[in-house]
């Protein structure tokens, strides 16, 4: 019934894939106190779309480049202000919003602009489907192959260095993957889903998981459950899919907090 439509099948495939890879990234991002990364990057990618349209390069390429620059920008600022890592997000986010605002004034055809801004999980083109599958495979492979290194990085860069983890290289790979994932996913399903999947499943998982590994697995399981429930609910109740997925996870988090009633770690 639910899956008789092509667009719903695509929504589930893309939704579940993103629900697997985004918490992987989200876990590390949260541990580094950079929870708002998803927001900051997706705002920057809007600026990239606008810039692409203004100077006449492919807007998707523009968005991806902007995301990559922004992600490295966050890394750069974060290192400068070691104890105030969240400041980096605020700076990049406002830069993104400001740039997008100013640049969009120069875009002559706003329908073009809108078609790049407008991401919805129930309106996914074949091209976007392929892109999401591709990035998912890359992210999953990286996380399996570099599991140990990424874990060290998430907790403490200094001890990672002492344990002979090539911090710089791993940092580079992680930053690049984050940028690529956000730029592709926010164009496909919208920024809202990205930024919430990055944080809320991890927040829930922290209440149950007793180790890094457990927490990571829980957060992926939660994210998949939220996405499936959210999509199903939105289909039968006629609700906006993006918002429903987010609210499902928030409700679950609230229930978890009420039941558990203890702080993480």
């Amino acid at each position: 019934m639910l899956l008789q439509y092509d667009f719903m099948r695509k929504a589930f495939i893309v939704g579940i894939l993103l629900a697997i890879i985004i918490p992987c990234i989200g876990m590390i991002v949260v541990l580094r106190r950079l929870s708002m990364t998803g927001d900051a990057l997706s705002h920057m990618s809007l600026a990239g779309v606008a810039l692409g349209l203004v100077i006449g390069i492919n807007p998707v390429l523009g968005a991806t480049l902007a995301c990559i620059i922004a992600a490295f920008g966050i890394e750069f600022i974060r290192k400068r202000f070691n104890h105030y890592a969240d400041m980096a997000i605020a700076i990049i986010m406002s830069t993104g919003v400001g740039l997008a605002g100013v640049l969009s004034g120069f875009v002559s055809n706003t329908s073009n602009f809108n078609s790049f801004l407008f991401g919805s999980i129930v309106a996914i083109t074949n091209f976007e489907l392929v892109m999401v599958i591709l990035i998912s495979v890359i992210v999953m492979l990286t996380f399996v192959l570099l599991y140990k290194e990424l874990m060290y990085l998430a907790f403490d860069e200094n001890s990672a260095r002492l344990s002979k983890v090539p911090v710089k290289a791993i940092n580079f790979i992680f930053t690049l993957l984050t940028a690529l994932t956000v730029s592709i996913a926010s164009r496909t399903v919208g920024a809202l889903i990205i930024s919430s999947l990055m944080v809320i499943p991890t927040a829930c998982a922290m209440q149950y998981g007793k180790s890094y590994k457990q927490t990571l697995i829980y957060s992926i399981v939660f994210a998949v459950i939220f996405t499936v429930i959210g999509l199903t609910l939105s289909y039968y109740k006629g609700l906006k899919p993006g918002g429903t997925i987010v609210l499902t996870s928030v409700v679950f988090l609230l229930i978890t907090l009420a039941v558990k009633g203890r702080k993480p770690n």
Binding site: M8, S115, S120
Partner: protein, 307 residues
């Protein structure tokens, strides 16, 4: 204690002086009197259709400028500071009303000059849709009879502020009034003869066209051109398209066709453009398109899809 009080008073004086300066600056802004040097009227219009109707009446007696640039979806538009400065120097602002320009009240209440405001949809019988929470569809001009009323309102306003050229405006209006009548009967005949009457459109912009010429619209989105659709709505529309054998899903040129494509894919239909004449692209402007030619292309598209 005394020291404290005097400090406080100093602060108070500082604030007063600051406010005084501000007031003086505001006063300076308020006192400008507008008269165009070349004797031509300066008229701004809120979006393309208003621009088209106004320039058809005003001819070479006025400089008509469209606020929304070509290729821009007017629902998303908001005036910039430059636009506000331009409006301060204008003689007349023509807008559609009926909820089309959400910014109009804010803009007009902050203007300092005595600009003539023309609400073109004045006197048009509005359709209020209960389903969309009393939100009415502002696209009144898609009924040629309403378009004629709008042009008449514009003509009346021009006659009022520029009596010298009243004869000129009247004769222009007469010419186009006949064209609207012709368009109206053409629409009635051609759309009345269509085999199927159901159209699927990307946003609820065609209530007036449908009501006047006997069609039924099913819209993918809401009145807002770029609202995210919900899955249930898409499924319903897919089912509707299947049972009614809809062969074409319409979308608008200035709106992303993403959802229209999804539905077309699902039912194996084509997509085509149905233009609510809100704005033209640069190319269409260069090709000399106007309200009448776009309405005729719409008729062609509808005939192709519904026969």
């Amino acid at each position: 204690m005394i020291k404290y009080v005097s400090k406080k008073m100093n602060k108070g004086y500082g604030l007063l002086i600051f406010l005084g300066v501000l007031l003086a600056m505001l006063g300076g802004c308020a006192s400008n009197d507008k008269k165009q040097e070349d004797g031509k009227l300066k008229i701004y219009t809120s979006f393309y259709t208003m621009y088209d109707f106004t320039s058809k009446i005003a001819g070479d007696k006025a400089e008509v400028v469209n606020l929304v640039e070509n290729g821009t979806e007017p629902h998303d538009w908001e005036p910039s500071t430059t636009d506000m400065t331009k409006l301060e120097e204008a003689d007349m602002l023509v807008y559609n009303g009926a909820g089309m320009e959400h910014w109009i009240e804010q803009v007009t209440s902050s203007l300092e000059n005595n600009i003539v405001l023309v609400e073109a949809s004045n006197g048009v019988e509005l359709i209020s849709d209960e389903l969309s929470q009393g939100n009415s569809d502002p696209h009144v001009w898609l009924d040629a009879k309403n378009a004629k009323i709008e042009m008449e309102n514009i003509k009346n306003a021009l006659v009022k502020i520029d009596e010298e050229n009243a004869q000129y405006y009247e004769s222009n209006y007469e010419k186009y009034a006949t064209m609207f009548d012709e368009l109206d009967s053409e629409l009635t005949n051609r759309l009345g003869a269509l085999k199927s009457k159901n159209i699927i459109v990307s946003h609820e912009a065609f209530s007036y066209l449908c009501k006047a010429y006997g069609l039924t619209q099913v819209s993918i989105g809401d009145l807002e051109a770029d609202a995210e659709p919900d899955a249930n709505r898409i499924a319903q529309i897919v089912e509707f398209a299947k049972t009614n054998q809809v062969k074409t899903i319409f979308f608008e040129e200035l709106v992303s066709p993403k959802v229209a494509n999804v539905i077309a894919n699902e039912v194996g239909a084509d997509t085509a453009v149905l233009n609510p004449v809100e704005g033209l692209t640069e190319d269409q402007m260069d090709a000399g398109e106007d309200y009448f030619s776009i309405m005729r292309s719409n008729m062609d598209a509808l005939e192709k899809a519904l026969n």
